[in-house]
Amino acid sequence: MRLPLNFNEGNLGFQIAPMIDVVFVIMLFFMVMAGAVKVENELNTRLPGTAETSSPADFVDEQIITISDSGEISLNDEPFDSARSKDLPQLKGTLMRLKQNADAAKTPAVVTIISDSQTKYGRTIDVLDALAVAKIDNVTFTVAEEE
């Protein structure tokens, strides 16, 4: 025998269990998305300019990092790491020692990056990242003049 359907009698009100299920699924989605999210960071530099001083300025030792078009990195003409290395462990170690020495001597650590004009910008960022690890913030970036 077929029973008559009465929707009004079957209304159980607001159901919390399916809502929790849905909230769980949405939360899972956003949790996974939050893990994959790319965070935009920054590496800072300041362009050289003129400064008015009333007292004589001390000249500091300037370290020069050159980047070739193939990505090879040299610090004061001495090559460091391979052209494929992104982490640059040797350069990082040397820069950290330089920073320690500069701090001990109470002089600022000044670094100039001279990049080949055709070097990929990503490689320059690798070097800037190594400088950020060594906490060297007096950094100037320039591109070598094409001959």
């Binding site: 790319k38 935009e40 800072n44 990242d129």
Partner: protein, 134 residues
């Protein structure tokens, strides 16, 4: 329990959407694991340096306006600096800055040209945008 769940949900929704909106898909930013977190409170001009691979040419974009060369941006950057400096109050970082969002494949010469444009516009404080992972 549902209150706690909803709170966690709102938290994850906020951090996910807030970060995704800031990433411009046309520029593949270089990776720097040790870069500091971007300070979004500062007055800044954001310059995008796109790399057009088929033409092997860079395209400079400032305020959604494309420029074929960096020198063409100087006027717009100067206006942005003057406008931005008026808004700055004596805060932690009272200088106006330029943020260069360069594609990782772009040759360094184009980033240097963008820096030169900033210098000509009177902006000396420059930041390079990076991402924390691939």
């Amino acid at each position: 329990m549902i209150d706690v769940l909803l709170t966690i949900l709102v938290f994850f929704m906020t951090i996910t959407s807030a970060q995704v909106l800031k990433v411009d898909k046309t520029v593949q930013l270089p990776i720097a694991k040790d870069a500091q977190k971007k300070d979004n409170t500062r007055a800044e001009a954001i310059l995008n340096v796109r790399w057009l691979l088929p033409a092997k040419k860079a395209l400079f974009v400032f305020n959604d306006h494309p420029y074929q060369s960096a020198a063409e941006m100087v006027g717009a950057l100067r206006i942005a600096r003057v406008t931005g400096e008026k808004k700055i109050t004596a805060g932690k970082n009272p200088t106006f800055r330029a943020v260069i969002r360069g594609d990782r494949e772009v040759p360094a010469i184009y980033v240097s040209q963008a820096m030169n444009a900033c210098a000509e516009a009177g902006i000396t404080d420059i930041s390079f945008s990076t991402v924390n992972k691939e």
